[in-house]
Amino acid sequence: MTHPDPAELALYAGAELSWLRRLRVGGHVRRCAACRWEVERFREARTRLRDMAWDEPAGLNWERLAAEMRANIHVGLAAAECVGPEPVSGRSRWRMAVTAIPVAALLLATLLLQRPRLEPRPPSGTVVLEAASDGIALRQGEAVLKLQHPSGRDVTYTVNTQGVLRARFVDAETGYVTVNLVYAH
């Protein structure tokens, strides 16, 4: 009769063998007293180890050690709270939401106010004074009167509240400064 090797019996004792191996080894163990005895010894050693592993090390004052560890754990947790990232609590989430809503509203209002608006077209009979790319133009319907400046000049336009449109540019060759003023009445 071929006996299973000790490693296999050790695994059989702890029920770690696969289903098929367990069936075969189990069949043998039932018939073989020597292997049954081996399995029993493995189980006994296992129980012994389990019992003894929970013995406190001899000579150790467990109560003192446990008290020291408990204190150190509390200190460690307190230290971790101080240096770690602050957890976001339910209250903080509410506070963040309450702050975020007005900020979002403000941003939205700013965007709406800053949005470029299309100017309504003036009625066809109205005289319009405007700065064009090549000069100051006075427009009424299709008719245009334009005070031109040389193209490509760096022209600065200014408008004031009295209805004065001012165009200012410098002649690069002569250094003459030209200012055109158009008054709207």
Binding site: L11, R50, A53, P57, A58, G59, N61, G76, A80
Partner: protein
Amino acid sequence: MATAAGAWRAMNGTLEQGVHEAAERKNRFIAAHLRRIFLLIYRIVGSVEDAQDLTQEAFIKALQREEQLRDPEKAAHWLSRIATNTAIDFLRRHGRMNFAELEDLPEPLSAAVSENPEQLLLRRERRVWLEEGLRMLTERERLALLLRDVEDLPPGEVARRLGCSKATVRSHIANARVKFRRYWEKCKP
């Protein structure tokens, strides 16, 4: 106004109660598992001082995730996993098992005076016997044996914790049992 103040006091009271309950929960958790975790780590690393540090580290890691503590059974399993991993990391860093003699321990941790000298001697013999037996195993065999036969974890979970296959873990367990049994029969405590 009085109603608002009352509501504020009630809310504060509820918060205080919540904080108190959380602290109580932590204390209960520590009390329930401290000894088990310390002894598990001690059997893995073999030194009281290292086991003390590692136990504290494991509890601090676990208690920082309070949401994991709500289910007591899962919390115990989770803590055990943290403790094993912490001990395994320690062994990887130090590459050894160091059974420090208890005589070398600082004074406060040495035995209580009230302990019976005979019991003390008996326990010391048992401890030496067990430690000698565990010392004969390789690190992997010892870990596999402790996790399977002492912690009673299924082989799959042992394999996960050791980072190897189930077949390898079975081989470690079998070798460890054979060696430990031979040792047990040769020099019974």
